[in-house]
């Protein structure tokens, strides 16, 4: 029972870059800044490729929503072993204000069109930290979801997923088709090998627009301002525990 896996990969500012807020406070500086695939998405891609190597999956398709440069992210996925890519072209204002709700609708539509059995996403993107796309996609498709996966096993017609939750570890079983979001300890992504990078050039990337999928990407939010977090203030020393408690109450901490 070989499955088709859809993997989402988002192009984000590289995790090692020091972020700077634009002087006009409308966002952060992205021009000329190093971008890479969202680290959690890399983990999702790695898991999908491993599924293919274990013959659980027959085909892996990567999807990325964004401007032309998103194709670079897709090429990275292809170089890791994904079979083909789909670039959903979104640019300009629509891209700046693209929200998980838009992406979930896009992914849901693609999953249906491509007859996918598993959708593997990173749990959240490191730029907006939304942690919504996997959940919303599952809901739109009415598929079961297993989020924060740190282990995925296939058992008969189901997937057994170990989830990292606040209270510890939880094991759930989901019927296929299902949506899974990858957490940090699911695996360690491979480096693309040079031969695979060269092979990736020949793998196809299909370009579509949200319109082709019947999804509207009109902005639903407006960014009012983006600012640096307040600079860390100096602390004070107190004489004794009573003063400490009083001070903490004063600033509303307890």
């Amino acid at each position: 029972m070989a499955l088709r896996v859809l993997v989402g990969c988002k192009r984000v500012i590289d995790y090692a870059v020091r972020i700077r807020v634009k002087p006009d406070k409308t966002g952060v500086v992205t021009d000329g800044i190093k971008h890479s695939m969202n680290p959690f998405d890399e983990i999702a891609v790695e898991e999908a490729v491993r599924m293919k190597e274990k013959k659980i999956a027959s085909e892996v398709i990567a999807v990325s929503c964004g401007p032309m440069q998103s194709q670079e992210t897709l090429r990275t996925a292809l170089a890791m072993g994904v079979d083909r890519g789909i670039h959903v072209d979104v640019s300009g204002k629509d891209y700046e204000l693209l929200q998980p709700i838009h992406v979930s609708k896009i992914l849901a539509k693609i999953a249906q069109e491509e007859k996918c059995d598993i959708i593997l996403l990173g749990k959240q993107a490191i730029d907006d930290d939304s942690n919504q796309t996997a959940q919303m996609t599952a809901s739109l498709l009415n598929w079961p979801q297993a989020t924060y996966a740190s282990k995925i096993e296939k058992t008969n017609g189901e997937l057994q997923v170990l989830r990292e939750i606040d209270g510890g570890l939880e094991t759930v079983r989901v019927k296929i088709p299902a949506v899974i979001s990858a957490d940090l300890r699911l695996n360690e992504p491979r480096y693309a090998t040079l031969p695979n990078i060269m092979k990736a050039k020949k793998k196809p990337i299909k370009k579509v627009t949200p319109g082709d999928l019947g999804v509207e990407t009109d902005p639903r939010i407006e960014i009012l301002s983006v600012e640096d977090p307040p600079e860390r203030q100096a602390g004070i020393k107190v004489e004794d525990v009573d003063t400490l408690i009083a001070k903490l109450k004063e600033v509303g901490r307890i």
Binding site: E72, R75, T76, Y191, A192, T193, P195, I197, A200
Partner: protein
């Protein structure tokens, strides 16, 4: 789109010919800049950028965190080297048919530049190993290629290049290690000095004299570890390049089968000269420039960040200029080599002369900008500084580079 098809066809043709294709991919793709800049990715094709990204990630994750330890404990990191080989870094510009990765010299230069940000010494060894694999691919017969290249590509075996002798450094052609024919064997006698990887390598490419004096009497012979009569000197204590062992190699009636000869008798010297290549300085220079730039933004004296004073600003400006110029020289030389340009030899010599000196100066200034902290081993800049010092000496001293350039100038 017709232009696209044309370009694609010509690209396929070009892949089989050793011509640089960097400037020709502008046909179909969105216009790719060929401008070289401080961003080392500038001027590269999309594929080269991917390759560079893999190398940079590998350097950042696998090498940078351990470069100080390798230096201090003199560890030859076979585990990391083998992992690098798994990605295709073991035989980068060896043909695919022979078991290599099938990229070109420019691609290799980009890779070494990226890796050297993680550890100059280890990257230098990788480049030497690659050079040996290439020499076998280029000059070996089918049997030799089959026997040696796959294990070199995977770094299951390590290899070393042996040209220099105690009495023959810059005057390499005067080498005196002999290889005397005895039936279907050569008997090697002599010693080699400063051999990188010595002791760890299992395959040595040794230049010896089979004929008369001068370069035309030199032959390249492959000697495997364990060959009778092959032994090593003590491990040298070096100022830098400490992640690779350097030892003298001693040959006392060392017998090797004639089938181990690489190429023809008398061809050895040109094989040796064609192998040598200077990208490792660039990575260290890039890393040092970035470190220095960050440091001066943070370090405050006299009430201001150092970055607000003109002298550090001017120092950084000079360093950045030198880095871009060096990068251009090195990439240009790589393309000249790749395309068989008539000036390739001169251009390579110029690139090595210029880049090694400029990058050394850059890293020296970076250390100075760090002040006292720059002198501490807690800070990476001193390791880049020590590791780079030897680049102006080995694989042809700066002085020899000048001889080559002058010779080409005056004889044309």
């Amino acid at each position: 789109m017709a232009l696209c098809r044309q370009t694609r066809v010509s690209l396929r043709l070009l892949r089989s010919h050793p011509i640089g294709i960097a400037s020709l991919e502008t046909g179909c793709e969105r216009h790719v800049s060929t401008v070289t800049s401080l961003d080392s990715a500038s001027g590269l094709t999309t594929e080269q950028k991917h390759i560079q990204e893999v190398a940079l990630n590998f350097a950042r994750n696998e090498m940078l965190p351990r470069m100080a330890e390798w230096d201090e404990k003199e560890i030859f990191p076979t585990d990391v080297l083998k992992r690098a080989a798994k990605l295709g870094f073991g035989a980068i510009y060896v043909k695919e048919d022979s078991g290599g990765t099938g990229l070109n010299r420019l691609d290799a230069s980009i890779i070494f530049e990226a890796l050297s940000q993680g550890c100059v010494s280890t990257t230098a060894y990788i480049s030497i190993h690659n050079m040996c694999a290439w020499m076998i691919d280029q000059y070996g017969n089918e049997a030799q290629k089959k026997q040696y290249i796959p294990k070199l590509a995977s770094m299951e075996r390590f290899s070393s290049y042996c040209l220099t002798e105690p009495g023959a450094g810059s005057d390499a052609a005067s080498l005196s290690t002999t290889a005397k024919r005895d039936g279907d064997h050569y008997i090697l006698n002599g010693s080699k000095m400063f051999i990188s990887g010595s002791g760890e390598s299992s395959l040595y490419l040794i230049m010896c004299r089979t004929g008369g004096s001068g370069p035309k009497g030199i032959t390249c012979v492959l000697v495997e570890n364990g060959a009778p009569g092959l032994s090593f000197g003590k491990k040298e204590k070096k100022v830098g390049w400490n992640s690779q062992p350097t030892k003298a190699l001693i040959l006392e009636d060392c017998r090797v089968p004639v089938t181990n000869r690489l190429g023809e008798e008398g061809q050895g010297f040109s094989i040796a000269m064609n192998g040598l290549n200077a990208s490792c300085s660039l990575g260290a220079a890039q890393a040092s420039l970035e470190l220095a730039t960050e440091y001066v933004k943070v370090r405050k004296q006299f009430g201001k960040a150092l970055a607000e004073f003109q002298d550090p600003q001017f120092k950084l400006a000079q360093m950045a200029t030198g880095l871009v110029a060096s990068r251009m020289m090195v990439r240009n030389a790589a393309m000249a080599l790749q395309s068989g340009h008539k000036d390739a030899v001169s251009l390579c010599a110029m690139a090595k002369l210029f880049a090694t000196q400029t990058c050394s100066k850059l890293v020296n200034t970076a250390l100075q900008l760090h002040g006292g902290y720059g002198y501490l081993k807690d800070y990476a800049v001193q390791q880049y500084w020590r590791d780079l010092r030897v680049h102006e000496i080995l694989e042809g001293t700066s002085e020899v580079m000048k001889i080559i350039i002058a010779k080409n100038l005056l004889h044309h």
